[in-house]
Amino acid sequence: MLMKKPNKKQLVEFYKMMVRIRKVEQKLMDVFSAGEILGFLHVSIGQEAAPVGVCAHLKDADYISTTHRGHGWAVAKGIDLNPAMAELFGKKEGFCLGRAGSMHLADTAIGIMGANGIVGGGIPIATGAAFAARYKKTDQVAIATFGEGATSEGAFHEALNFAAIKKLPIVYVCENNAWAEFSPRSIHLPIESVTARALAYNIEAVSVSNNVLEIFDAAGEAIQKARNGGGPTLLEVKSERWYGHYVGDAQQYRGKESVAEAMGKDCILDFEKELIKDKILKKQDIENVQSLVDAEVEDAVSFARECSYPQESEMLDGLYV
């Protein structure tokens, strides 16, 4: 099945989206370090290509489940930055009333089912969304995102097995960033590529590099197959984790070279170069995108700062319907 190549407008949109993710997270690192936000903050800097390449094929009605490292996916799925930022600040105007913060960010109105603090926890949940889509005979698809570390959890196994047997409309997107917390890939995987896991379920698998267009193509095929009743696919994206597991983790367990090597691979810069080479963007356009996104992010942070914290009296509101 041949996918349509993205047009110029789309390419620019991809670029802008990747920059948006990057800048949101850079800003988050700042405000976290300044103590304005609390809890755990896991950034996905270096991994922006995957959410953008995948979500470009999704409609609002499609579902995604994300992880602790899920900002990029929420942004790419189209989350409104202001209430999203308010949530990250723990404010009541946030999507989740300030209860979720970074680790559980959700906007179910546009199919963002919720980030999960349990490794692997979201994989069967997205599978359930795919089940619901099939049950209701819609053309919705679901995307489960997770890291390579998560593929060792029983939840991964049980979900993929079920999806394969039922041929559910879902794409499992594994962002293989070579690290799970403080442990290298070799602790988790006895295989070269996560795609080998798919053989256990007789589902198709494909591995792509951290290139947004490659991801876009592979995801496009998988999503189209899912929509057409062709069942699940496992899509591995080999990406890079630039920073620590969470903000504040100095990566002492990881050699300096490994960090430098990861940072040497910048999916945004690579794409920028391609776009310039192909004359799709000019230096000036790039500056425009950057300042536009900077402004968006600043706006969101200002919005979030002006919001208020939930009151103690609201703590249990709506716990039961």
Binding site: F95, G98, R99, D107, T127, K136, D317
Partner: protein
């Protein structure tokens, strides 16, 4: 009223709700083709087909979370966990996901899911097939926990649970499955409220708070004691989370004596919460220590089950202790 078996009342409740609402479906191991390990879904597969009566691989964690995901997307799953003991495999799904999805996402969605599971002894099936673990779930905010005792109740409560927009842990008891009793006529559509206790027998001397199988043992105890002139008030909690304080407290206001009885291991069981609440909020009403009845603190075993599971005689002796030791 007609007579029906408890297990058949479960089937009827599911069937009627599935007829009424096409978003209701059943999922679990052997629930489809085989009609359920205990026969709860017999006939439903033929009637509703494999899309709505869904057989799964042996993967309690997976299919419980899959159902949860479906519940977030507009469906109303009924999950069957074959034995309550196997829910240990699905705890992450129930506790970290299902119980919290509504709250932690800021009330954006509801999670209308019912998770059915039979607990308890009766089959001499040993330590991994006889447990009563309801106290765990009652300790987890976001869940409701229901434990029906009769065919009539199980149907009305299951229908209510299916219509409830909150996640409900719905606990059956294996020895009750075969029990016959009065049941609502099909056309009646009886739906019993969750969170409300039912006074199964009125009495003035001692209040017995219980649920599930121990309701029947307590009623037997009441018969025995009636011969001695002691009148038990037997309160079937029906729902243990949230539990009906009002009914329990007003009964204690009358009897001033309390026994709490369940099949689960006594220590750290749901009886502890009832007793502790009374000791906190109603201590001055008590004329005697609060006695608890539960299984001894050990695993069930293959050949000692009959000594292990508590019965009417345990309720009788607990009641007698509240009468002896009054102060």
């Amino acid at each position: 009223m007609k007579e029906s078996r408890y297990i058949f009342a479960i089937k009827e409740a599911m069937e009627e709700e599935m007829e009424k609402d096409e978003n209701v479906f059943l999922i679990g191991e052997d629930v489809g083709l085989a009609g359920g390990s205990f026969g709860a879904s017999r006939g439903l597969y033929d009637k509703f087909g494999p899309e709505r009566v869904v057989d799964t691989p042996i993967s309690e964690l997976g299919f419980t979370s899959i159902a949860a995901g479906a519940a977030c997307c507009g469906l109303r799953p009924i999950v069957e966990i074959m034995f309550m003991d196997f829910v240990t495999c699905a705890m992450d799904s129930i506790v970290n996901q299902i119980a919290k999805m509504r709250y932690m996402f800021g009330n954006q969605n509801t999670v209308p899911i019912v998770i059915r599971m039979p607990e308890g002894g009766g089959l001499n099936a040993g330590p991994q097939h006889s447990q009563c673990l309801e106290a765990w779930f009652a300790h987890v905010p976001g869940l409701k926990v229901v434990m029906p005792a009769t065919p009539y109740d199980v149907k009305g409560l299951l229908k209510a649970a299916i219509r409830d927009d909150n996640p409900v842990i719905f606990i059956e008891n294996k020895t009750l499955h075969a029990m016959k009793g009065q049941a609502a006529e099909a056309e009646e559509d009886v739906v019993l409220p969750l969170g409300r206790a039912d006074i199964k027998r009125e009495g003035k001397d001692v209040t017995v708070v219980t649920a599930s199988r121990l309701v029947h043992e307590s009623l037997k105890a009441a018969e025995i004691l009636a011969n001695e002139g002691i009148e038990l008030e037997v309160i079937d909690l029906q729902t243990i989370q949230p539990w009906d304080r009002e009914t329990v407290y007003s009964s204690i206001g009358k009897t001033h004596r309390l026994v709490v009885a369940h099949e689960a291991v006594k220590q750290f069981g749901f009886g502890a919460e009832i007793a502790a609440s009374v000791a906190e909020e109603l201590l001055d009403e008590l004329d005697a220590p609060i006695m608890r009845v539960g299984a001894p603190f050990g695993p069930a075993s293959y050949s000692l089950e009959k000594f292990y599971v508590p019965g009417a005689e345990d309720v009788v002796s607990a009641v007698k202790r509240t009468l002896e030791r009054s102060f």
